[in-house]
């Protein structure tokens, strides 16, 4: 079941559009904010609220990078793998992150703290190489800086 607050938030954003189902992405992000990811059951409840079929909503959900249909860690690390960051040392950054966390892309640390994902250009090319953890952007990365950033989450 969705919580009262989730339903209220979804109804509010659905009011921005002539058809409720246009709020699909925003609705999925609302439930994901509380639950971390979107299970089949949750997706089906959201579809009910938006008056659409679960299949139709899942076709939308699986199209996007930031709707998680599998459980993820408490923090999501997005490493920019696009051109400017690649020029500025993306390989070193990723190798270090993988070594430090003991995981590869698409995986979650055993303590459930971090999920590591590649991401297209984060739009901060003047600060390359960059990554985002949750909603915070980190630029001018090097190995020492990454260690410091990761330590701040412990």
């Amino acid at each position: 079941m969705l919580t009262e607050q989730e339903e209220k938030d979804i109804e509010a954003v659905a009011g921005h559009y002539p058809l409720k189902k246009a709020a699909g992405i925003e609705a999925l992000k609302i439930v994901q904010k509380h639950r971390g990811w979107v299970s089949d059951e949750t997706l089906s409840h959201v579809a009910d609220v938006l008056e659409m079929s679960p299949t139709e909503l899942d076709a939308v959900a699986t199209f996007y990078n930031f709707i998680f249909r599998r459980p993820v860690g408490r923090h999501i690390i997005l490493v920019c793998d696009s051109v400017s960051c690649w020029i500025m040392g993306y390989d070193t950054i990723v190798n270090h992150l993988e070594k430090r966390l003991g995981i590869g892309f698409g995986e979650t640390t055993v303590d459930g703290r971090f999920t590591l994902l590649p991401n297209v250009c984060l739009g901060a090319c003047d600060r390359a190489p960059v990554m985002m953890i949750d909603e915070q952007l980190y630029g001018e990365l090097d190995v020492e800086k990454i260690d410091k950033i990761l330590a701040s989450f412990e």
């Binding site: 199209f63 996007y64 990078n65 500025m88 250009c121 739009g123 390359a128």
Partner: protein
């Protein structure tokens, strides 16, 4: 030199709130448009200013608006959609404008909506721009509270609702018809054109469609006039432009400069030149969907026509600089991985062709290429073109590849013959 777009933007300081923005001359353009000008007069002024779309295509903004059906018989509601899904790799100019001066964008949106008589406007923002999203939300609330949004704006009888739509990350959403599907809550695949969005757009209704930087110019054009706007530029295209540089330059960043400055001026004066010991070898002038240029092109002007004459495109105007120690084949492999991954899968040349191209490039980069691969790549650049695909994503992917094969074919050969990357 005047810099209207960034005059209120100070790095590391919160943007102006509504009263501060008004004190700096803000919302005077809106007042003038709504109280002194008819909608078609607003469009005429923008047409006369020679403002061309800053999203990359460079279409005349005034002409674009003039395609929206007007008058009592026009289908309603009409929509205005702002493309703030800035996901072109190497591009970070709209972020600067939205984070730095959100009211400038909102004022432009209200004027643009008035010109085409749209009743509902959406800002389609990429999910990664968290700060921009928060600042826009705050500014939209302020604008409603002041009566610049909502019913009967400034007593003109014009009504407008503005909503921020935050997407969930997918490059194809920047393609305008894919974006329309995304806003309607469908998978973001492109639509066949015609019909074009100004006539049949969001939910089948007329929809004007503009980039963030384009719209940020509008209030200044209305307030100070088309002649003033044209004079900002070194070339017939009106206005200033947010240019940028990233890669191994001394001072990567973005700067508002007259439209039509040269690549050299941006690279040497503003970005401070290359880092010690490095030479510039190539440039992606306006994002990854533009043809590479080389060190021989540094004196080309960065405007729509000059870039086209040089064999590339202005695109977003934020250049990626490639130094002589960066491998061009590795660069292309990175770019093609991006395009193949971001293909929405809707049409075959893109879904299959980009994946194939990406695999060939990766093999060459790893020293496992064959000489005939170069011919395969060239054939792809001739076949994956506009007219063979639904949208411009795959043809855009071919632009850096075809120019890399033109200027740097020997790099590809060396990888194949030496069976390794000579740059490692």
């Amino acid at each position: 030199m005047e810099s209207p777009l960034t005059q209120n933007i100070r790095p590391d300081i919160s943007p102006l709130n509504l009263p501060e923005y008004e004190k700096a001359g803000g919302y005077q353009g809106l007042r003038k448009a709504l109280t002194q000008l008819a909608p078609d007069e607003v469009t005429a002024l923008v047409l006369e200013s020679n403002l061309r779309g800053r999203g990359g295509a460079g279409f005349s903004t005034g002409r674009k608006w003039s395609f929206v059906p007007m008058g009592d018989d026009a289908p309603r509601p009409k929509y205005l959609v702002i493309n703030a899904d800035e996901m072109e790799p190497g591009t970070f100019k709209d972020r600067l404008l939205m984070e730095g001066d959100p009211h400038q964008l909102i004022e432009g949106i209200i004027i643009a909506a008035y010109a085409v008589q749209a009743g509902i406007a959406y800002i389609f923002l990429r999910r990664a721009y968290v700060t921009a999203g928060q600042r826009l939300e705050t500014a939209i609330k302020e604008a409603y509270a002041k009566g610049y949004l909502g019913q009967n704006i400034l007593g003109s009888g014009f009504n407008l609702d503005l909503y921020l739509h935050v997407s969930a990350g997918r490059y194809i959403c920047g393609e305008e018809t894919a974006l329309l599907n995304a806003l309607e809550g469908k998978r973001a695949v492109p639509r066949a054109k015609p019909p074009f969005p100004p006539v049949v757009g969001l939910w089948g209704k007329p929809t004007a469609f503009n980039n963030v930087e384009t719209i940020c110019n509008v209030s200044h054009i209305i307030r100070l006039g088309p002649a003033w706007f044209r004079d900002l530029s070194h070339v017939p295209d009106g206005g200033s432009k947010i240019y940028g540089a990233s890669g191994k330059v001394r001072r990567p960043g973005a700067w508002e400069l007259p439209m039509g400055v040269t690549i050299r001026e941006i690279l040497e004066e503003h970005a401070g030149g290359m880092q010690d010991g490095l030479e510039v070898r190539a440039i992606l002038p306006g994002g990854v969907s533009t043809d590479l240029l080389t060190a021989k092109h540094l004196d080309v002007r960065m405007d729509f026509n000059s870039m086209q004459e040089a064999g590339s495109r202005l695109g977003t105007g934020t250049m990626v600089v490639i130094d002589d120690r960066t491998c061009i084949v590795g660069l292309l492999s990175n770019l093609m991985h991006f395009f193949a991954q971001e293909s929405c899968g809707w049409c075959t040349p893109c879904r299959e062709g980009l994946a194939w191209t990406s695999r060939i490039l990766k093999a060459i980069e790893q020293g496992q290429g064959k000489l005939e691969d170069i011919e395969h790549l060239k054939r792809h650049t001739r076949l994956i073109t506009l007219g063979h695909t639904f949208c411009a994503l795959a043809p855009g992917a071919m632009e850096p590849l075809q120019s890399a094969l033109t200027y740097f074919e020997d790099d590809f050969r060396r990888h194949i013959l030496e069976r390794r990357c000579p740059w490692r």
